[in-house]
Symmetry: C2
Subunit: 371 residues, 2 copies
């Protein structure tokens, strides 16, 4: 088994096998529990923060976190370019840098709510986070290398290796040329002003604002410009909206509109049921969309929808804070929130199922007890 | 419901109710999945690192992570002392500081392996981490305050509030005076050289080397010296070794001896099954004990035990690295590791059940496929 070259674009396009596992009804499996213990989502109280620190920001690692040495690491840029480049961290840090506030969300967020449940990372609904990513614009480096006119995509390969769906591979994804040349796509070496933590891609990762997290390849080692569409596992098999195992489906790309709420009051440790006192409460949360600006958030209180106040956006692809004052009366209540973006897309009240459990942006519902 | 004073030591000792939930056989519950998504363990590949960065170090938060302002926060020290104190962060930073390398582990680590399964945070086996904690020795501040001669315990109360086992509470735990006066018990404001991250107790936490993590109270707001043993929920009800719901049990305190291994090779994404090539492999991991120095680690290869090499310890209560070269032959193998400490305690080959699923230090077993 050779883990280092399985995703080479010189291979013939892979056939599209179905994932190894079929969706399951019923109990969570030991495999899902192991994944839930390894990877982590963002505790919802962290929605209070504009910026999510490491350890609160969601993390999904497909294989193992590589243990890379930033001083000897190099990035290779090649393929359909005029000049292949090989750059160390010192060289990259001398290039012009930008800082972009970006909300990243896992495409599988909400998967564990589906029935039957697609077997993969069993996210509930908080696989999200917002950070300030600092690094070199990808477009700048592609400009240095010189993209040939007949190039169609750019392939990004990380140092992380393993097996998925029976296929040995290094994690690799591509972007169409027009996305790769957007001015806000960044090769980031800092998160929130300090070197990337190991689990977020040290020493260098791609960050693609507006796309689900799978596009933002971590532990980046190679950028290859290609003249035919990339057919790697994470592009052709994983991360697709499919009706069934036999459906080729459509690729997952931009983040669907979504909002989440800081659950008010205090929790029960085990059930996470919320308890609060009667009286005025400021409900708050964040909303985001990879398709364009969030234009409205409606808050549901026992089924009655009220428009929330929206703060100014912090950036094109960073979440937007919303607030709504509520007077809590004793009893049992269900709170929810629902965002709409500039395209008119809004969150569904009932979730739609798909084979891999992708893009489930159903509205959050928070039952609370007011005592 | 009053969340701010339920753990006051002026209360009568609480009766000992049984926890709300009985152990379960069978599928993981939605409540356990929610906890697994919120709290996170340490990916085992992070055992390669002497020091665990935030986001890789395990975190267990009973209630919500409080959003504290370090500039207005104050620590109160009172009770059976000659002089009550109230200190802000600026004052604490002027006091003498120490840095202690400490391995912290959750007392519930290994819980999900038990059958029937106690219902709480469903840890698999990696709820651990090692950090350098910097702050003021607790003994120094207790000396400043002057502990009265008839004091028996010190009670630590955090800012985190909620309900557990039906009891509204702020998280609170006590230490016997002799433990509180140990020179290495620290009121930490830094983790690995920078301000505590929110999830690790910002702006100040207790760190009790050698004890399971529940003793190291986060988001510390109050230290109260008491003349009668503290009877709060996290002392009298939770964190006990019990045979059944009716057994008063014995309190959980020091960390039982344990070792873990970096799983060799590369993983399958979903099953975490390991794959490696034939040939020499350096097996490695870490071992620790809260009872005293680790004196031996034995590595089991298909049931044959071999002594591992131990590196020099990094501190009295920090994990110790072990290594063992292995020549992997094609086929299926099971690797395991088993530590022994200076008291002669060693890890059990078969786990012992207890009602809350505490202190399960059964040996880790890693199935691998050599191709």
């Amino acid at each position: 088994m050779n883990y280092s070259n399985q995703q080479s674009t010189r291979q013939e396009p892979a056939p599209v096998p179905s994932p190894a596992t079929q969706p399951a009804s019923g109990p969570l499996t030991r495999e899902e529990l192991q994944l839930a213990a390894r990877n982590h989502s963002m505790p919802l109280e962290a929605l209070r923060r504009d910026v999510t620190p490491p350890g609160l920001h969601y993390v999904l690692t497909h294989f193992d976190i590589p243990d890379l040495d930033g001083s000897s690491w190099h990035l290779r840029i090649g393929g359909a370019v005029e000049r292949a480049l090989e750059l160390g961290m010192a060289a990259l840090r001398r290039d012009p840098a930008i800082t972009v506030p970006v909300t990243l969300e896992c495409a599988g967020n909400g998967r564990s709510l589906l029935e039957p449940r697609p077997l993969s990372q069993p996210w509930v609904l908080e696989a999200v986070g917002t950070a300030h990513w600092t690094g070199v614009p990808l477009a700048y480096l592609l400009g240095k290398a010189g993209v040939l006119p007949d190039a169609v995509e750019v392939v990004f390969t990380g140092a992380d290796a393993g097996v998925q769906g029976g296929v040995p591979q290094r994690y690799a994804r591509s972007l169409p040329i027009r996305e790769a040349l957007r001015p806000d796509v960044v090769l980031a070496y800092q998160m929130n002003g300090t070197d990337l933590p190991p689990q977020h891609g040290y020493p260098l990762r791609l960050v693609v604002p507006g796309w689900y997290g799978m596009a933002s390849v971590k532990w980046l080692e190679s950028i290859e410009v290609v003249k035919t569409p990339f057919a790697g596992f994470q592009q052709e098999v994983a991360y697709r909206y499919q009706d069934s195992a036999d459906d080729a489906g459509t690729p997952v790309s931009r983040i669907r509109v979504r909002s989440l709420m800081v659950p008010p009051g205090v929790p029960d440790f085990f059930s996470r049921r919320r308890f609060l006192r009667p009286g005025p409460v400021m409900l708050e949360g964040r909303a985001w969309s990879g398709e364009g600006a969030v234009t409205a958030v409606d808050v549901g209180i026992d089924g009655t929808w009220l428009p929330a106040h929206l703060d100014k956006p912090a950036g094109g692809y960073a979440w937007r804070r919303w607030t709504l004052p509520w007077v809590a009366n004793p009893g049992e209540h269900v709170l929810s929130c629902r965002a709409t973006d500039i395209t008119g897309a809004t969150q569904p009240l009932e979730q739609a199922w798909n084979f891999q459990g992708m893009g489930n942006n159903v509205v959050q519902r928070v039952p609370v007890t007011v005592e």
